[in-house]
Every structure is written in structure tokens, then in C-alpha cells.
């Protein structure tokens, strides 16, 4: 690893000032960033440790009955937090499915959302890869079994985060703090340019920090689930995952992971039909077909459509019958 300066920011203002200096990067658990630095997939001359800032590692109740999660909360602490498990079990399950015990002890929520793609063309430095300075996507005609089945830009990356999929199904909003103040994005907006942006998947400016993720009270409780299909029995990224929630007001969200450049919410007309309920097997099969009608799998990943439809059917059975 190249030499870097390490700073532990004393407060948010200092962290933001340091992040505004050239080649500065925020570091939390380091589980992705240090690999990227060791592999020369990114550069940094200054690492700003953003753990330990006020409220960055806490779970706080909000006025609308929801929860605000600090950006430096450890993934393990999300999986084990009693308030999160009670109100947002889909998120707790998604967090518990991340990596291994040690990785969950290290990794932070903000870092999990800001991690880079696992695409092997990116990680191996394929020169034609958009995200490595090229102009295309070698996965389209190459080895693409782990890539996206949904077209969302030139690159066929999938985002590896499990929590992001659950957060999308819970209408979570991400608070980014930068020199100009705070802005909030929903998960869809955070990853809207993941397949187009050469420098990153999440729309976080170099001088911004994920300070909070806010879960709305309207989606606390109800029926929630997170299911993840992996190639191995443990310690793996999702081939396909599915987060689903039916809120107390009856509204339904169903989101797939592993199929697109970011969490991929099924068409709202499908969610509305599930919300109406009283679904039988035949209508569940039809809805699972309809949800995937416009996907465009590549030569090696049509199997993901089969898995996604199986996960959708299970989610709809749990939410809509």
C-alpha cells in the first residue's frame, strides 16, 4: 500500500474540511477501501477516519416513530440492535447476511453503501471497463453470470450491498453532509447513476459523508422479510436477494438485489396488486412473471430470472395472501 496520512476527525466539521483536501478519502471499517488501495484500484493520500463522530454510531428514535442510524454504525450492531430488530427486521436480517462475523464487526453502514462493485472486470483492471477508464463493459460479451439482468446504463454492474436492498424496501432516506450542508436522497437516487458513473456507484461527492440513514415510522413493523440466495452456504454476496415490506397502512414494497446496478424495485402496479391481497397461486405466478417482463439477461445469467421469480413468489405469499 502506498504511504497515506491518517487522521481521526475530532468532529464533523473537521472531517468535512479534511475530506475537501485533494486525494482525501473517508475510512470506516476499511474492509473495502483498504482492498481498493492495496489493489491500486483507487488512490488516497489522506485517510479520514469518520468513526467516533457524535451520533455517528447510534440508533436514535425520530419524531415520526422511525429510526435514524448513524453512518458509522457497524453492520454487526445493526444486525443485533433491539430497536432495529423490532421495527425493521428486514434490515436486521440483511445486515446479518453480510460477509462474516469479523467483516460485520468492521464494516460500517456508510461504507457498505459506498463500497465499490465486485465486478471481476473492474477488480482485475480490465482496460476496456468503463469504471477502469475504458468506454464499455467487457461483461456484456464476456463472463457475465454474476452481472445485472436489468439494463440501467452502459455498465452491467450489480451493487453488492444487502442493507441497501432492505433500506429501499423500507423507504429509507440517506443523509449526505458536505460543505454546503445536508442533502437527502432515497436509495433509488443514491444508485441512479451506478451503471454510468465511472468513478463510483453511489452518488456521494468526494467531500461528502453519509451521516445518517433515516427509516420512516410509516414502514416500521408490519410484515417484513429479507431473503438472499448465495452460491455458497455462507460468506458470499447475493446472486439474487429480495426485500419486501407490507406496512401497517397496507402499502407494499418489493425490491430485488443482485439484478441491477442498484436495488431494483418492482413495478408499482405489481406492488399494488400484492397490497390488495387475497392472492392465489395462479395470480402469484402471473405477478412474478409480470414483475420481470422487461429484464434482459445476458448469455450467462438467465438463471437469475428464475431465482428472482422464486423469491418474488415467496415474498408475495408472505405479504399478499
Amino acid at each position: 500500500m502506498h504511504p497515506v496520512r491518517y487522521h481521526r476527525a475530532a468532529n464533523l466539521a473537521e472531517a468535512l474540511a479534511l475530506l475537501g483536501t485533494p486525494d482525501a478519502r473517508a475510512i470506516g471499517g476499511g474492509t473495502d477501501l483498504l482492498v481498493l488501495l492495496k489493489e491500486d484500484l483507487t488512490r488516497a493520500s489522506t485517510l479520514v477516519d469518520v468513526r467516533g463522530l457524535a451520533l455517528s454510531e447510534t440508533v436514535t428514535a425520530t419524531d415520526d416513530g422511525g429510526l435514524a442510524l448513524g453512518g458509522a454504525l457497524r453492520i454487526a450492531d445493526i444486525a443485533n440492535d433491539a430497536a432495529i430488530r423490532a421495527a425493521y427486521p428486514a434490515l436486521a436480517e440483511a445486515a446479518a447476511s453480510v460477509g462474516t462475523v469479523a467483516l460485520r464487526n468492521m464494516g460500517t453502514l456508510g461504507g457498505n453503501l459506498a463500497q465499490r462493485t465486485r465486478c471481476w472486470y473492474f477488480r482485475r483492471g480490465a482496460p476496456t471497463c468503463l469504471k477502469r477508464g475504458g468506454s464499455g463493459c467487457p461483461a456484456r460479451s464476456g463472463a457475465n453470470e454474476y452481472h445485472a439482468i436489468v439494463e440501467s446504463g452502459p455498465c452491467r454492474t450489480v451493487h453488492p450491498s444487502d442493507p441497501a436492498v432492505a433500506l429501499a424496501a423500507l423507504d429509507a432516506r440517506v443523509e449526505l453532509t458536505g460543505p454546503a450542508g445536508v442533502r437527502t436522497l432515497d436509495i433509488a437516487a443514491l444508485f441512479a447513476d451506478a451503471a454510468r458513473d465511472a468513478t463510483r456507484e453511489a452518488a456521494i461527492a468526494p467531500d461528502e459523508l453519509i451521516t445518517r440513514v433515516v427509516l420512516p415510522g410509516a414502514r416500521a413493523g408490519g410484515v417484513q422479510r429479507y431473503e438472499k440466495v448465495m452460491q455458497r452456504g455462507a460468506y458470499d454476496f447475493a446472486l439474487v436477494s429480495c426485500a419486501a415490506s407490507r406496512a401497517e397502512d397496507g402499502t407494499v414494497r418489493i425490491v430485488l438485489g443482485g439484478v441491477a446496478a442498484g436495488p431494483w424495485q418492482v413495478n408499482s402496479s405489481v406492488e399494488e396488486d400484492v397490497a390488495i391481497g387475497a392472492l392465489d397461486d395462479e395470480s402469484i405466478d402471473a405477478l412474478a412473471e409480470r414483475a420481470m417482463y422487461d429484464v434482459e439477461p445476458l448469455a450467462g445469467n438467465a438463471y437469475k430470472v428464475t431465482i428472482a421469480q422464486a423469491l418474488l413468489r415467496r415474498a408475495m405469499r408472505a405479504l399478499g395472501t
Binding site: L34, L47, R51, A102, M106
Partner: protein, 154 residues
């Protein structure tokens, strides 16, 4: 920066890019903790930081300022007497080449501290991040189960 390493205080100022693994092995000559993949994929460098397992290869030394580090060298008692977990790994033949063993021990030690009577399924899930290319997994499972049972009998 200050650390407590296996109960002893340490103070120093390593370079910013120094990992906890580099500090332990190269500066402090605590070479029980192994360098293998260097990418957080294999678990050979597993140590405990304030009681929780981490990969020392992906942990910056400065990021641990003020914390307590426990390595495999911290398991044995005074005079180097092996603890019950180490003895069980030997008794149940839970190592072949032994390179992954320090990480396996630190992960297993943390498991038994968090969950004194884990089921086999819980042991497998917890230990999933510690790879063994010799394939001694069944014997590692047996050794951990044996220690849990022996400790519960007191």
C-alpha cells in the same frame, strides 16, 4: 497512539498505512497472527479488538488507538501453558499445516465468549470466515464443541 496488546500497554506512532497486522508481525514480532490473503478473505489474520474479531490485514493500526488487541499469543496462560481451546485443537487434531490455526482459535475464543453453548449450526455460521485449505473443519467443530461442553460442566 496507544494500545493494550495481550494485556500490556504499548505506545508508538506507526506510518499511516501500517495495518494492525503489520504492526503486530513486523514491529512487535508477534508472528502468531498470520498474513495470508491480505484482502480480508481468509481469516488467517483474525485477532480480537475490544473482544470482537477483526481482520488485522484490513485494520489500520492508527484506527485502533485506545483499544485492546488480543492475539493468539494472549491465549496461553503464564509459563506458556496452553488454554483449554488450544489443548482441544491438539486433542481433536484440528490442524494439519496449522497456518490458519491462530485465526481459527481467535474466532472460536470470541464465539465461546459470546455464546458459551453454541449449536453445531451456530459454530459453522460463526466460523465461516476462517478458511482451512487442509479441510480440518470437522475437527475444528469437534474441538469447539468439546470445549463448550467441558466449560459448561465447570
Amino acid at each position: 497512539m496507544r494500545l493494550t496488546i495481550n494485556g500490556r500497554p504499548w505506545e508508538g506512532d506507526p506510518a499511516g498505512e501500517t495495518t494492525l497486522l503489520g504492526l503486530l508481525r513486523d514491529d512487535l514480532e508477534l508472528t502468531g497472527t498470520k498474513l495470508s490473503c491480505d484482502r480480508g478473505e481468509c481469516g488467517a489474520c483474525t485477532v480480537q479488538l475490544d473482544g470482537r474479531t477483526v481482520h488485522a490485514c484490513l485494520t489500520l493500526a492508527h484506527g485502533c488507538d485506545g483499544q485492546a488487541v488480543r492475539t493468539v499469543e494472549g491465549l496461553a496462560g503464564p509459563e506458556g501453558a496452553l488454554n483449554d481451546l488450544q489443548a482441544a485443537f491438539i486433542a481433536h487434531d484440528a490442524a494439519q499445516c496449522g497456518f490458519c490455526t491462530p485465526g481459527q482459535l481467535m474466532a472460536a475464543d470470541a464465539l465461546l465468549a459470546a455464546n458459551p453453548r453454541p449449536s453445531d449450526e451456530e459454530i459453522r455460521a460463526w466460523m465461516a470466515g476462517n478458511l482451512c485449505r487442509c479441510g480440518t473443519y470437522p475437527n475444528i467443530l469437534t474441538a469447539i464443541r468439546a470445549v463448550a461442553e467441558a466449560r459448561s460442566r465447570g
